[in-house]
């Protein structure tokens, strides 16, 4: 697949839904270490709702409308920190792609940049604060570089997914500054951040979907 159009976007949401359903218990356990164990529940719920919504609206609604609808329903369905932040990400991503009907490498870069910036604004987190931002910011950076070098979508996303995994690994060394994990301070060092893990899952599933 060389670009994601409205039709494929619906399929991508199905992949995300299935992946978060499968990772539900893993994310519950991960969030349970220095959080409140809800992450698996909120992510599986909100992506299930998002898929249902985009599937019901259908490809005719168009790429950006589907992204907006997904963001809106996610904000209603799972208003946890990660739920609201991912929802904000989709809404901002939709805005960034206004007028586009396909996501190629450049659009993917724009999408994830807007996504990361939206999260940073809403959550008031900085890089290095051990959040999802520490994965999505480098992901956007890699995609921007890939776009600049004219890479096709599949290899660009593969590079982004690899960078996401590396970035997640780097969150282990950080100390949580936000949310429920923040009170654990030093104890969070050595652990991968739960929200950053969600970031990796999002990018990897997208990469896998595009690779077919």
């Amino acid at each position: 697949m060389d670009a994601i159009r409205a039709d494929e976007l619906i399929g991508l949401f199905q992949s995300w839904r299935d992946m978060f359903a499968a990772e539900r218990d893993f994310l519950i356990a991960l969030d349970g270490k220095v959080g409140d164990s809800d992450l698996g529940i909120t992510m599986s719920k909100s992506f299930a709702a998002a898929y249902d919504t985009v599937a019901a609206e259908g490809a005719a609604a168009g790429l950006t409308k589907l992204l907006r609808s997904a963001g809106a329903i996610m904000a209603k369905t799972a208003p946890s920190t990660m739920g609201t932040l991912t929802a904000t990400g989709f809404l901002r991503g939709a805005k960034a792609l206004e007028g586009k009907d396909a996501i190629g490498t450049a659009e993917a870069a724009a999408f994830w940049r807007a996504y990361a910036t939206g999260i940073a604004e809403r959550g008031k987190a900085k890089l290095g604060d051990k959040t999802i931002l520490d994965v999505l910011d480098p992901v956007a950076g890699v995609l921007e570089a890939q776009a600049a070098s004219g890479a096709a979508l599949a290899p660009a996303l593969k590079a982004a997914a690899d960078e996401a995994e590396a970035a997640l690994e780097r969150t282990k060394a950080m100390k949580a500054q936000h949310g429920k994990a923040a009170v654990f301070q030093e104890q969070t060092v050595g652990l991968q951040d739960a929200g950053a893990t969600v970031g990796v899952f999002l990018v990897k599933a997208m990469s896998g979907y595009v690779a077919g």
Partner: protein
């Protein structure tokens, strides 16, 4: 998991249906049970909204009623309600005098209330916010903005509710609510975990003979886990931390809330209060108002918290005002 429930996914909505069937004083808007409001808003009054996760009854929605709050956005168990729901509640309770949000200092809630305030602003509704951060175990002095909000928010509600009932402006209600917020400190101690219905098992554990001082109402870690001590010693340790931040001298007056976290019998709460009262007495201070019972819970968690509000000439008459909600009645003697 030993709970009375049907499908865990319906836990919150079926609970809410029970509440609406029991208490016609409250209703909901936008066809969404999670947007709870007073059935008869008072014209011209500053509206007060709260919101937060379920699993803490009577927090948060239990304080919607006469002379307290006007609306509450209700989240899933231990989860924030959505910005959308807060916005719907805001629109309904605004009587032209603006709306004050009072809620606890949790990232999810802040993010959503911030978004709701933006949406209300677009509608031309003035919104102010006071964010409860009374849990002294959750961050050190100097970093109070990082502290969690727990049971002490009860006093913020009571002060703000009385101020709004007295017809004060949004600025004044906000100022007084914020003053109550700044004057209240809470410290908790947990003896057991609790079970979130959709998870189905305890999310953490406390050893059979252990207690954790400072544990949060979602099981957030406290400041020390140790062997369960006699009640008096537990209170002494907790109150030492409170007195360090709210000095109690001769003639000073306080309101005290001894709160059960869910699984602890009232008998034990009174044993705790006995000691709290002795400590104030020894300092020559007076406990002028006291409430003992369940005010902010964590499902079936065994444990308790002690909240202390330092009174002054402004706060005292506000705390004294009678209140009548489905979950809490206070008759002025």
């Amino acid at each position: 998991m030993k709970k009375f429930l049907n499908d865990p996914a319906n836990f919150v909505d079926e609970m809410l249906e029970g509440i609406y069937r029991a208490h016609p004083q409250v209703t909901y808007v936008n066809d969404d049970k999670r947007c709870l409001v007073v059935a008869k808003p008072k014209a011209g009054k500053v509206g007060i909204a709260t919101g937060g996760g379920s699993g803490h009854l009577p927090l948060f929605l239990g304080y919607v009623g006469d002379n307290m709050l006007d609306g509450c956005a209700v989240g899933g168990v231990f989860q924030s309600p959505s910005a959308d729901q807060m916005h719907e509640v805001t629109k309904y309770i605004d009587q032209g005098a603006g709306v004050l949000y009072i809620y606890g200092n949790y990232t999810g809630d802040i993010i959503n209330f911030d978004m709701a305030a933006e949406l209300a602003d677009i509608d031309g509704i003035t919104v102010k916010q006071v964010v409860g951060n009374d849990d002294i175990a959750s961050s050190v002095v100097g970093e109070e903005h990082k502290r969690r909000g727990v049971a002490g928010i009860f006093f913020v509600y009571k002060a703000a509710g009385a101020a709004a009932a007295n017809g004060l402006s949004l600025d004044e209600v906000t100022r007084l609510a914020d003053k109550a917020r700044a004057n209240v400190r809470t410290i908790g101690v947990a003896l057991s975990s609790c079970v979130v219905p959709e998870i189905g098992h305890a999310t953490f554990s406390v050893g059979e003979d252990e207690m954790e001082i400072g544990m949060g109402i979602h099981g957030e870690p406290g400041i020390s886990r140790k062997k369960l001590a006699p009640a008096d010693a537990v209170v002494d340790e907790m109150m030492e931390r409170v007195f360090a931040e709210l000095p109690a001298g001769a003639g000073d007056e306080f309101a005290v809330l001894v709160n059960g976290l869910g699984g602890t019998p009232k008998e034990e709460l009174y044993i705790l209060f006995r000691r709290v009262s002795q400590l104030f007495e020894a300092k020559g201070s007076k406990v002028k108002y006291v409430w003992i019972g369940e005010f902010a819970t964590a499902m079936e968690m065994a444990g308790a918290s002690i909240s202390v509000l330092k009174l002054d000439a402004e706060l005292d008459p506000l705390i004294a005002v009678s209140v009548n909600t489905p979950f809490f009645a206070h008759y002025k003697a």
